[in-house]
Symmetry: C2
Amino acid sequence: MARSSATSDVFNAVAEVHRRDILDALITGEKAVGAIVNDLPMSQPQVSKHLRVLSDVGLVRCRADGRRRLYRLDPEHLRPLHEWLAKYEQAWNDRLDRLDDYLAEIQGQGEPQ
Amino acid sequence: MARSSATSDVFNAVAEVHRRDILDALITGEKAVGAIVNDLPMSQPQVSKHLRVLSDVGLVRCRADGRRRLYRLDPEHLRPLHEWLAKYEQAWNDRLDRLDDYLAEIQGQGEPQ
DNA sequence: TTGACATATGCCTAAGTAGGCATATAATCG
DNA sequence: CGATTATATGCCTACTTAGGCATATGTCAA
């Protein structure tokens, strides 16, 4: 048996590196499919299919603009991940607080945009 | 092609519901395999195999105690997830701040232990 | 309408893997 | 040592899925 359907599970949707790449590409804002294809080393059908999965899970939303489809992130749907992770942050607060510090540090350093 | 090996990727390791269940079961502390089998509706080999995956990724650590193997969480290895998620928290701080509030709320309410 | 551009889908194959079952390994006890 | 308990592995099958390719669908322009 394989993993339960990625279509209905944010965890599975995000488990795919390429899908994370797409989400990362959308962090800067709304983008057309073609733009994503240009930014990432993926074929157009590949991108479209991954966008479909991400869309089914709610992580991205689509908007029509002429013959283009503009996709944007819907971070609200990262909530399950966030909640799940939060349980562990609570349990081992001290260790993860250090992690938070570390993150704040590297984020403070490299903020090009 | 299937997803890239779960053995080398925290995201994939955590994508499996049963593996998350095991991790959740270990939140309260170190547990023997048998204890996990008792707590969750899974067979012993099933639990052992999932523990193997989690172990390979570093999310759990094993300690021998007689004929038992005690497993405990190593939250440090949740860092990739945390870091990845942090990027989005930064980008949409206002939205996820509300989520943080919400989480703090429900966590403050139900703290039985 | 015809043609060019933009994106989505369908079909197919290869590959990874979860779970069941039996069994191997390991440790303890008598 | 032999028996029992505790856990890990191996084999097998079924199911999911990523990616390639071709093509359908949709939109705009002339």
